[in-house]
Protein backbone atom coordinates (compact mmCIF):
# COMPACT_ATOMS: atom_id res chain seq x y z
CA UNK A 1 0.00 0.00 0.00
CA UNK A 2 1.58 3.19 -1.13
CA UNK A 3 1.68 5.86 1.51
CA UNK A 4 1.96 9.38 0.33
CA UNK A 5 2.82 12.07 2.77
CA UNK A 6 1.72 15.53 1.91
CA UNK A 7 2.87 18.70 3.51
CA UNK A 8 -0.40 20.56 3.56
CA UNK A 9 0.13 24.28 3.70
CA UNK A 10 -2.26 27.17 3.72
CA UNK A 11 -2.50 28.71 0.32
CA UNK A 12 -4.24 31.92 -0.53
CA UNK A 13 -6.90 30.20 -2.53
CA UNK A 14 -9.13 33.16 -2.96
CA UNK A 15 -6.59 35.41 -4.54
CA UNK A 16 -3.86 33.52 -6.30
CA UNK A 17 -5.59 30.30 -7.18
CA UNK A 18 -9.13 29.28 -7.85
CA UNK A 19 -10.74 27.00 -5.36
CA UNK A 20 -11.91 24.61 -8.04
CA UNK A 21 -8.33 23.95 -9.08
CA UNK A 22 -7.08 23.27 -5.55
CA UNK A 23 -6.56 19.67 -4.50
CA UNK A 24 -8.27 18.16 -1.50
CA UNK A 25 -5.32 18.59 0.86
CA UNK A 26 -5.00 22.25 0.00
CA UNK A 27 -8.69 22.74 0.60
CA UNK A 28 -8.47 21.02 3.97
CA UNK A 29 -5.54 23.18 4.99
CA UNK A 30 -7.63 26.21 4.08
CA UNK A 31 -10.56 24.87 6.10
CA UNK A 32 -8.22 24.56 9.06
CA UNK A 33 -7.56 28.27 8.70
CA UNK A 34 -11.27 29.04 8.64
CA UNK A 35 -11.81 29.33 4.90
CA UNK A 36 -15.55 28.81 4.39
CA UNK A 37 -15.27 28.75 0.61
CA UNK A 38 -12.84 25.85 0.80
CA UNK A 39 -15.30 23.88 2.91
CA UNK A 40 -18.09 24.59 0.45
CA UNK A 41 -15.91 23.24 -2.35
CA UNK A 42 -15.20 20.03 -0.42
CA UNK A 43 -18.93 19.62 0.15
CA UNK A 44 -19.66 20.21 -3.51
CA UNK A 45 -17.14 17.57 -4.60
CA UNK A 46 -18.18 14.81 -2.26
CA UNK A 47 -21.82 15.30 -1.26
CA UNK A 48 -23.28 13.13 -4.03
CA UNK A 49 -20.74 10.27 -3.88
CA UNK A 50 -20.91 10.12 -0.08
CA UNK A 51 -24.70 10.28 0.00
CA UNK A 52 -24.93 7.61 -2.67
CA UNK A 53 -22.47 5.38 -0.84
CA UNK A 54 -24.31 5.70 2.47
CA UNK A 55 -27.64 5.12 0.70
CA UNK A 56 -26.33 1.87 -0.78
CA UNK A 57 -25.22 0.83 2.67
CA UNK A 58 -28.38 1.57 4.65
CA UNK A 59 -31.07 1.66 1.91
CA UNK A 60 -32.75 4.71 3.45
CA UNK A 61 -32.50 7.92 1.47
CA UNK A 62 -33.48 10.45 4.14
CA UNK A 63 -31.23 8.93 6.75
CA UNK A 64 -28.40 8.68 4.22
CA UNK A 65 -28.67 12.44 3.62
CA UNK A 66 -28.42 13.07 7.37
CA UNK A 67 -25.43 10.81 7.72
CA UNK A 68 -23.72 12.43 4.74
CA UNK A 69 -24.16 15.81 6.43
CA UNK A 70 -22.80 14.36 9.66
CA UNK A 71 -19.77 13.19 7.67
CA UNK A 72 -19.03 16.73 6.53
CA UNK A 73 -19.58 18.11 10.00
CA UNK A 74 -16.97 15.72 11.32
CA UNK A 75 -14.57 16.68 8.55
CA UNK A 76 -15.00 20.33 9.48
CA UNK A 77 -14.75 19.97 13.25
CA UNK A 78 -11.73 17.69 13.12
CA UNK A 79 -9.88 19.52 10.37
CA UNK A 80 -7.15 20.52 12.79
CA UNK A 81 -6.46 16.88 13.63
CA UNK A 82 -6.36 15.65 10.03
CA UNK A 83 -3.04 14.14 9.06
CA UNK A 84 -2.38 14.00 5.35
CA UNK A 85 -1.02 10.44 5.35
CA UNK A 86 -3.83 9.14 3.16
CA UNK A 87 -5.78 10.65 0.35
CA UNK A 88 -8.66 12.80 1.49
CA UNK A 89 -11.21 10.63 -0.29
CA UNK A 90 -10.01 7.67 1.77
CA UNK A 91 -10.44 9.77 4.90
CA UNK A 92 -13.95 10.94 4.11
CA UNK A 93 -15.11 7.52 2.95
CA UNK A 94 -13.80 6.06 6.17
CA UNK A 95 -15.90 8.49 8.22
CA UNK A 96 -18.95 7.74 6.10
CA UNK A 97 -18.40 3.98 6.38
CA UNK A 98 -18.17 4.13 10.16
CA UNK A 99 -21.35 6.18 10.36
CA UNK A 100 -23.20 3.81 8.05
CA UNK A 101 -22.08 0.72 9.92
CA UNK A 102 -23.04 2.32 13.23
CA UNK A 103 -26.47 3.01 11.80
CA UNK A 104 -26.85 -0.57 10.64
CA UNK A 105 -25.88 -1.91 14.06
CA UNK A 106 -28.23 0.49 15.76
CA UNK A 107 -31.07 -0.74 13.57
CA UNK A 108 -30.17 -4.33 14.26
CA UNK A 109 -30.35 -3.66 18.02
CA UNK A 110 -33.69 -1.94 17.68
CA UNK A 111 -34.97 -4.82 15.57
CA UNK A 112 -37.26 -2.82 13.41
CA UNK A 113 -40.45 -4.68 12.73
CA UNK A 114 -41.78 -4.14 9.30
CA UNK A 115 -45.52 -3.77 9.14
CA UNK A 116 -45.43 -5.72 5.95
CA UNK A 117 -43.38 -8.66 7.11
CA UNK A 118 -44.29 -9.93 10.54
CA UNK A 119 -43.01 -13.40 9.72
CA UNK A 120 -39.91 -15.05 11.14
CA UNK A 121 -38.09 -18.16 10.11
CA UNK A 122 -36.96 -21.02 12.36
CA UNK A 123 -33.89 -19.06 13.42
CA UNK A 124 -35.98 -16.13 14.59
CA UNK A 125 -34.83 -13.90 11.74
CA UNK A 126 -37.38 -11.76 10.08
CA UNK A 127 -38.20 -12.75 6.55
CA UNK A 128 -40.12 -10.90 3.96
CA UNK A 129 -42.92 -12.58 2.21
CA UNK A 130 -42.62 -11.37 -1.34
CA UNK A 131 -45.18 -13.18 -3.45
CA UNK A 132 -44.31 -13.17 -7.11
CA UNK A 133 -46.08 -10.64 -9.24
CA UNK A 134 -47.81 -12.58 -11.92
CA UNK A 135 -48.88 -9.52 -13.87
CA UNK A 136 -46.99 -9.05 -17.13
CA UNK A 137 -44.47 -6.23 -17.17
CA UNK A 138 -45.89 -3.23 -18.95
CA UNK A 139 -42.90 -1.49 -20.43
CA UNK A 140 -39.20 -0.92 -20.27
CA UNK A 141 -39.49 1.76 -17.62
CA UNK A 142 -41.16 -0.64 -15.26
CA UNK A 143 -38.57 -3.29 -16.01
CA UNK A 144 -35.81 -0.84 -15.20
CA UNK A 145 -37.53 0.21 -11.98
CA UNK A 146 -37.98 -3.37 -10.95
CA UNK A 147 -34.34 -4.15 -11.70
CA UNK A 148 -33.06 -1.24 -9.64
CA UNK A 149 -35.29 -2.18 -6.78
CA UNK A 150 -34.01 -5.74 -6.88
CA UNK A 151 -30.38 -4.55 -6.88
CA UNK A 152 -30.99 -2.24 -3.90
CA UNK A 153 -32.74 -4.98 -2.02
CA UNK A 154 -30.02 -7.51 -2.75
CA UNK A 155 -27.24 -5.18 -1.60
CA UNK A 156 -29.20 -4.31 1.53
CA UNK A 157 -29.53 -7.99 2.37
CA UNK A 158 -25.76 -8.53 2.51
CA UNK A 159 -23.94 -8.70 5.88
CA UNK A 160 -22.49 -5.28 6.66
CA UNK A 161 -18.85 -6.30 6.28
CA UNK A 162 -19.48 -7.62 2.78
CA UNK A 163 -21.78 -4.76 1.90
CA UNK A 164 -19.18 -2.04 2.53
CA UNK A 165 -16.56 -3.79 0.42
CA UNK A 166 -18.82 -4.53 -2.57
CA UNK A 167 -20.37 -1.05 -2.61
CA UNK A 168 -16.98 0.65 -2.52
CA UNK A 169 -15.72 -1.62 -5.29
CA UNK A 170 -18.56 -2.20 -7.73
CA UNK A 171 -20.74 0.86 -7.05
CA UNK A 172 -18.22 3.56 -6.18
CA UNK A 173 -15.39 2.13 -8.25
CA UNK A 174 -12.60 2.42 -5.66
CA UNK A 175 -9.46 0.34 -6.12
CA UNK A 176 -8.58 -2.54 -3.80
CA UNK A 177 -5.80 -0.66 -2.05
CA UNK A 178 -8.06 2.35 -1.44
CA UNK A 179 -10.81 0.11 -0.09
CA UNK A 180 -8.26 -1.52 2.21
CA UNK A 181 -7.34 1.92 3.58
CA UNK A 182 -10.96 2.94 4.05
CA UNK A 183 -11.92 -0.25 5.85
CA UNK A 184 -8.57 -0.59 7.60
CA UNK A 185 -8.11 -4.12 6.26
CA UNK A 186 -5.53 -5.95 4.23
CA UNK A 187 -6.00 -6.16 0.47
CA UNK A 188 -6.35 -9.91 0.73
CA UNK A 189 -9.23 -9.58 3.16
CA UNK A 190 -10.89 -6.99 0.95
CA UNK A 191 -10.67 -9.26 -2.09
CA UNK A 192 -12.00 -12.19 -0.12
CA UNK A 193 -15.01 -10.22 1.12
CA UNK A 194 -15.78 -8.90 -2.34
CA UNK A 195 -15.63 -12.43 -3.75
CA UNK A 196 -18.08 -13.70 -1.13
CA UNK A 197 -20.38 -10.73 -1.64
CA UNK A 198 -20.51 -11.35 -5.37
CA UNK A 199 -21.30 -15.03 -4.82
CA UNK A 200 -24.25 -14.04 -2.59
CA UNK A 201 -25.48 -11.40 -5.03
CA UNK A 202 -25.22 -13.75 -7.97
CA UNK A 203 -27.85 -16.00 -6.41
CA UNK A 204 -30.20 -13.12 -5.59
CA UNK A 205 -29.86 -11.37 -8.96
CA UNK A 206 -29.57 -14.35 -11.27
CA UNK A 207 -32.77 -13.32 -13.07
CA UNK A 208 -31.24 -10.02 -14.08
CA UNK A 209 -27.69 -11.09 -15.01
Amino acid sequence: MATVTHQAQAIGLSSSRSIEAANDHELLAAIRDGDEAAFQEIVRRYRNPITNFVYRMIDDYERSVELAQETFIRVYTSASRYEANYSFSTYIYRIATNLAISELRKRKRRKFVSLFSPFTNDDGEQIEIDPPDTNPLQDEAMIETERRRAVSKAIASLPEKYRAAIVLRDVEGLSYDRIAEVLNLSEGTVKSRINRARNLLKDKLSAYI
Binding site: T51, Y76, V151, D170, V171, R198, L205, Y208
Partner: protein, 229 residues
Protein backbone atom coordinates in the same frame (compact mmCIF):
# COMPACT_ATOMS: atom_id res chain seq x y z
CA UNK B 1 -2.88 -22.64 -13.82
CA UNK B 2 -6.04 -24.27 -12.52
CA UNK B 3 -9.62 -23.07 -12.90
CA UNK B 4 -9.77 -21.87 -9.27
CA UNK B 5 -6.77 -19.63 -9.82
CA UNK B 6 -8.23 -18.35 -13.09
CA UNK B 7 -11.54 -17.57 -11.41
CA UNK B 8 -9.65 -15.66 -8.74
CA UNK B 9 -7.90 -13.60 -11.40
CA UNK B 10 -11.23 -12.96 -13.13
CA UNK B 11 -12.78 -11.81 -9.87
CA UNK B 12 -9.91 -9.49 -8.97
CA UNK B 13 -9.55 -7.89 -12.37
CA UNK B 14 -9.93 -4.14 -12.34
CA UNK B 15 -12.23 -4.33 -15.29
CA UNK B 16 -14.50 -7.27 -15.97
CA UNK B 17 -14.08 -6.91 -19.71
CA UNK B 18 -10.27 -6.82 -19.56
CA UNK B 19 -8.79 -9.92 -18.03
CA UNK B 20 -5.11 -10.71 -17.49
CA UNK B 21 -3.45 -12.45 -20.39
CA UNK B 22 -3.26 -15.84 -18.65
CA UNK B 23 -6.92 -15.66 -17.78
CA UNK B 24 -7.92 -14.66 -21.31
CA UNK B 25 -6.08 -17.59 -22.79
CA UNK B 26 -7.61 -20.07 -20.34
CA UNK B 27 -11.13 -18.72 -20.71
CA UNK B 28 -10.97 -19.20 -24.45
CA UNK B 29 -10.52 -22.93 -23.90
CA UNK B 30 -12.56 -23.54 -20.72
CA UNK B 31 -16.36 -23.37 -20.87
CA UNK B 32 -16.72 -23.35 -17.09
CA UNK B 33 -14.38 -20.40 -16.63
CA UNK B 34 -15.90 -18.69 -19.64
CA UNK B 35 -19.35 -18.94 -18.04
CA UNK B 36 -17.94 -17.66 -14.75
CA UNK B 37 -16.30 -14.69 -16.47
CA UNK B 38 -19.56 -13.79 -18.21
CA UNK B 39 -21.51 -14.08 -14.99
CA UNK B 40 -19.09 -11.84 -13.14
CA UNK B 41 -19.08 -9.26 -15.90
CA UNK B 42 -22.90 -9.14 -15.90
CA UNK B 43 -23.07 -8.79 -12.13
CA UNK B 44 -20.50 -6.00 -11.98
CA UNK B 45 -22.25 -4.18 -14.80
CA UNK B 46 -25.57 -4.52 -12.98
CA UNK B 47 -24.15 -3.10 -9.76
CA UNK B 48 -22.35 -0.27 -11.52
CA UNK B 49 -25.50 0.77 -13.37
CA UNK B 50 -27.59 0.90 -10.20
CA UNK B 51 -29.18 4.31 -10.07
CA UNK B 52 -27.19 6.84 -8.16
CA UNK B 53 -28.98 9.15 -5.78
CA UNK B 54 -28.18 12.81 -5.47
CA UNK B 55 -28.60 15.19 -2.57
CA UNK B 56 -31.74 17.28 -2.12
CA UNK B 57 -31.75 20.96 -3.03
CA UNK B 58 -31.56 22.13 0.60
CA UNK B 59 -28.58 19.93 1.48
CA UNK B 60 -26.08 22.79 1.83
CA UNK B 61 -28.47 24.98 3.84
CA UNK B 62 -29.33 22.22 6.30
CA UNK B 63 -25.66 21.32 6.63
CA UNK B 64 -24.76 24.90 7.45
CA UNK B 65 -27.47 25.11 10.10
CA UNK B 66 -26.35 21.87 11.71
CA UNK B 67 -22.74 22.99 11.66
CA UNK B 68 -23.56 26.28 13.35
CA UNK B 69 -25.54 24.48 16.01
CA UNK B 70 -22.73 22.02 16.60
CA UNK B 71 -20.01 24.64 16.90
CA UNK B 72 -22.06 26.81 19.27
CA UNK B 73 -22.89 23.76 21.38
CA UNK B 74 -19.20 22.91 21.68
CA UNK B 75 -18.29 26.45 22.80
CA UNK B 76 -20.79 26.35 25.67
CA UNK B 77 -20.54 22.64 26.26
CA UNK B 78 -19.87 23.00 29.94
CA UNK B 79 -23.21 24.76 30.38
CA UNK B 80 -25.16 21.86 29.01
CA UNK B 81 -27.96 20.47 31.18
CA UNK B 82 -26.09 17.21 31.53
CA UNK B 83 -22.99 18.92 32.88
CA UNK B 84 -25.04 21.12 35.21
CA UNK B 85 -26.77 18.04 36.55
CA UNK B 86 -23.44 16.33 37.11
CA UNK B 87 -22.09 19.39 38.89
CA UNK B 88 -25.13 19.54 41.16
CA UNK B 89 -24.92 15.85 41.93
CA UNK B 90 -21.21 16.12 42.73
CA UNK B 91 -21.83 19.07 45.05
CA UNK B 92 -24.63 17.26 46.83
CA UNK B 93 -22.46 14.17 47.21
CA UNK B 94 -19.59 16.21 48.64
CA UNK B 95 -21.89 17.91 51.14
CA UNK B 96 -23.32 14.55 52.20
CA UNK B 97 -19.82 13.12 52.61
CA UNK B 98 -18.72 16.03 54.81
CA UNK B 99 -21.85 15.76 56.95
CA UNK B 100 -21.38 12.01 57.36
CA UNK B 101 -17.72 12.45 58.18
CA UNK B 102 -18.54 14.97 60.90
CA UNK B 103 -21.14 12.71 62.43
CA UNK B 104 -18.84 9.74 62.34
CA UNK B 105 -15.89 11.78 63.65
CA UNK B 106 -13.88 10.81 60.60
CA UNK B 107 -12.30 14.23 60.36
CA UNK B 108 -10.29 13.77 63.56
CA UNK B 109 -6.50 13.87 63.17
CA UNK B 110 -5.25 10.40 62.43
CA UNK B 111 -2.33 10.47 64.83
CA UNK B 112 -4.42 10.92 67.89
CA UNK B 113 -5.78 8.07 69.87
CA UNK B 114 -9.51 8.24 70.05
CA UNK B 115 -10.64 7.30 73.49
CA UNK B 116 -14.21 6.69 74.44
CA UNK B 117 -15.89 9.87 75.45
CA UNK B 118 -16.45 10.21 79.19
CA UNK B 119 -19.98 9.41 80.13
CA UNK B 120 -22.29 12.04 81.52
CA UNK B 121 -22.03 10.55 85.01
CA UNK B 122 -18.24 10.70 84.87
CA UNK B 123 -18.38 14.30 83.80
CA UNK B 124 -20.94 15.13 86.49
CA UNK B 125 -18.71 13.43 89.07
CA UNK B 126 -15.71 15.44 87.99
CA UNK B 127 -17.52 18.72 87.85
CA UNK B 128 -18.89 20.30 91.01
CA UNK B 129 -21.23 23.24 91.03
CA UNK B 130 -19.17 26.37 91.42
CA UNK B 131 -19.83 29.82 92.64
CA UNK B 132 -19.90 32.57 90.17
CA UNK B 133 -16.40 33.72 89.35
CA UNK B 134 -15.54 37.28 89.92
CA UNK B 135 -13.72 37.44 86.65
CA UNK B 136 -16.85 37.08 84.63
CA UNK B 137 -17.90 40.34 83.21
CA UNK B 138 -21.32 41.70 83.91
CA UNK B 139 -23.86 41.80 81.18
CA UNK B 140 -24.23 45.27 79.81
CA UNK B 141 -26.56 47.34 81.96
CA UNK B 142 -26.91 44.67 84.56
CA UNK B 143 -25.22 44.35 87.94
CA UNK B 144 -24.07 40.98 89.07
CA UNK B 145 -25.24 40.10 92.54
CA UNK B 146 -22.25 38.64 94.17
CA UNK B 147 -23.18 35.49 95.98
CA UNK B 148 -21.03 33.94 98.50
CA UNK B 149 -19.91 30.51 97.37
CA UNK B 150 -21.53 27.64 99.17
CA UNK B 151 -19.33 25.16 100.95
CA UNK B 152 -18.79 21.79 99.34
CA UNK B 153 -19.34 18.45 100.94
CA UNK B 154 -16.15 18.65 102.92
CA UNK B 155 -17.15 22.04 104.18
CA UNK B 156 -14.48 23.88 102.34
CA UNK B 157 -15.30 26.96 100.43
CA UNK B 158 -12.98 27.52 97.56
CA UNK B 159 -12.39 30.80 95.85
CA UNK B 160 -14.33 31.26 92.63
CA UNK B 161 -11.29 31.30 90.44
CA UNK B 162 -9.91 28.26 92.15
CA UNK B 163 -13.21 26.54 91.67
CA UNK B 164 -13.16 27.38 87.98
CA UNK B 165 -9.68 25.97 87.74
CA UNK B 166 -10.85 22.95 89.65
CA UNK B 167 -13.60 22.44 87.17
CA UNK B 168 -11.23 22.42 84.29
CA UNK B 169 -8.69 20.38 86.21
CA UNK B 170 -11.37 17.92 87.19
CA UNK B 171 -12.28 17.38 83.60
CA UNK B 172 -8.66 16.87 82.76
CA UNK B 173 -8.39 14.35 85.59
CA UNK B 174 -11.43 12.50 84.37
CA UNK B 175 -9.88 12.10 81.01
CA UNK B 176 -6.31 11.72 82.22
CA UNK B 177 -4.27 9.13 80.47
CA UNK B 178 -6.49 9.21 77.46
CA UNK B 179 -5.88 11.48 74.56
CA UNK B 180 -9.25 12.73 73.64
CA UNK B 181 -9.84 14.35 70.29
CA UNK B 182 -11.24 17.82 70.36
CA UNK B 183 -14.54 16.60 68.98
CA UNK B 184 -15.31 14.59 72.14
CA UNK B 185 -13.98 17.02 74.76
CA UNK B 186 -16.86 17.60 77.19
CA UNK B 187 -18.42 20.99 77.06
CA UNK B 188 -19.67 23.14 79.87
CA UNK B 189 -22.65 25.43 79.97
CA UNK B 190 -22.89 28.16 82.56
CA UNK B 191 -26.29 28.50 84.17
CA UNK B 192 -27.11 31.65 86.10
CA UNK B 193 -30.02 31.72 88.46
CA UNK B 194 -30.94 33.23 91.79
CA UNK B 195 -28.44 30.91 93.40
CA UNK B 196 -25.55 32.12 91.32
CA UNK B 197 -23.67 30.65 88.45
CA UNK B 198 -23.25 26.98 87.96
CA UNK B 199 -21.20 25.11 85.40
CA UNK B 200 -23.03 22.16 84.09
CA UNK B 201 -21.60 19.44 81.81
CA UNK B 202 -22.94 19.14 78.30
CA UNK B 203 -22.56 16.14 76.05
CA UNK B 204 -20.63 16.93 72.87
CA UNK B 205 -22.57 17.75 69.75
CA UNK B 206 -21.56 17.96 66.11
CA UNK B 207 -20.19 21.14 64.62
CA UNK B 208 -23.04 23.24 63.39
CA UNK B 209 -25.63 21.46 65.51
CA UNK B 210 -28.01 23.25 67.78
CA UNK B 211 -29.23 21.27 70.72
CA UNK B 212 -32.18 21.91 72.92
CA UNK B 213 -31.30 20.96 76.49
CA UNK B 214 -33.04 20.56 79.78
CA UNK B 215 -30.87 21.84 82.61
CA UNK B 216 -31.30 20.92 86.24
CA UNK B 217 -28.89 23.10 88.17
CA UNK B 218 -29.89 21.70 91.52
CA UNK B 219 -28.83 18.30 90.38
CA UNK B 220 -25.96 19.61 88.26
CA UNK B 221 -27.08 17.84 85.20
CA UNK B 222 -28.27 18.56 81.73
CA UNK B 223 -30.12 16.49 79.27
CA UNK B 224 -30.21 16.94 75.52
CA UNK B 225 -33.79 16.70 74.38
CA UNK B 226 -33.40 17.59 70.70
CA UNK B 227 -30.71 18.33 68.13
CA UNK B 228 -31.22 20.29 64.93
CA UNK B 229 -28.91 21.42 62.15
Amino acid sequence: MGCNEIKRLIDEADRADRLPFDAEKHVADCAGCRSFAGERAGLRSLLASASRVSVPANFDAVLRARLEERTSRRALGWLSPANMFKLGAATAGLAAAIFAAQNLNLLAPADQTVAPAPSASQIAEAVRPTAPTASRAAAPGRDIQRVEPTPNREGFVRPARAQARTTRAAIATATAGRVVPAMVTPSIVIVRDQNGERELPVLPVSVGAQSAMYANPSRSMTRTVAVSF
